[in-house]
Assembly symmetry: C2
Homo-oligomer: 154 residues x 2
DNA sequence: TCAACCTAGATGATGTGTCAACTATTCCAG
DNA sequence: CTGGAATAGTTGACACATCATCTAGGTTGA
């Protein structure tokens, strides 16, 4: 490795800020979500994917791709959600190896109850603090970093 | 609850982008860190705190405060790091309940080996993708959100 | 001085994430 | 059609996070 290119002062300020924000924001959103519903952040993400599709049933691998989760993580998590009655498994007729994950009525009720409050949390903690220009820049930044991540074999 | 104030299109774009970026960036940084050193992201954070102080020893609660970790998480993690020889515990003479955590030579060597590569990862994945204005805006956004978090009893 | 309370930190149970190995099915070359 | 490779998904072992609880040592006030 050649000489390390350390961060400039401005970059350090941005990086430390980002790290701190990320940690605290994630934690606070998880707390508020769980306080007002029996859902974890992960549960929420899974349920969102299931409500996004019309038939409320998705193949496991499709879910893994959308969530960008490893299949084993997903499998474990789905097992727990199934035990809690939020989702159900169904056999896939066209490929006997595969399985559909189906949103149950309880799962649908849970996310419909949780979503408005979660949006409210996001708005209060993030968007109420930002100007429209900052919102646009945040989107641009995220897109630029994501592009970088998908270049470099992420 | 009154009517939900849903996110505007611009806000949705920013939020989805942020969520995706956050997840993928964290994962990729952790992978690169662990590939080039035997350190997890958490190990790294602990070691950074220890190198920041001159005597390389910090009280556990002080560490918890800086990292914003719960004491039990920290206690468990320090136990594992101690088993791996990265840190050591020392009794505190002035308060017999307390303990100092000391950076070992192995711990110092580990972080000194890992740091340049980690900085390089951050630079490559984040700052190389951003303009100086975007970096400044990112810092401003982080500060604004952190201020909000610390208002609302985070 | 001593009882009630507070604080520093460790511990054990449980839920969650990751990795490697495994099972069952499908695909495909010959 | 068959034997090997690829694919869908599960499982088990282990690292990690959280919560409640526990221990031991300090602090305070009557």
């Amino acid at each position: 490795m050649t000489e390390t290119r350390w961060l400039t002062e401005a970059e350090q300020r941005a990086w430390r800020g980002y790290i701190a924000m990320q940690a605290q924001l994630t934690a606070q959103l998880a707390r508020e979500l769980q306080a007002g519903s029996e859902l974890s952040h992960s549960d929420f993400a899974v349920l969102v994917c299931l409500t996004d599709v019309p038939e409320r049933r998705v193949r496991v691998l499709e879910l893994a791709r959308e969530l960008q989760w490893e299949k084993s993580r997903l499998s474990h998590h789905l097992g727990r959600m199934q035990r809690r009655g939020l989702v159900a498994r169904e056999e896939c007729p066209s490929d006997a190896r595969g399985a559909f994950i189906v949103l149950t009525d309880a799962g649908r009720a849970a996310i419909e109850a949780a979503a408005p409050q979660h949006v409210e949390s996001v708005r209060r903690l993030v968007f109420d603090a930002l100007t429209p220009e900052q919102v646009d820049t945040l989107a641009t930044i995220a897109e630029a970093v994501l592009a970088r991540l998908n270049d470099t074999g992420a």
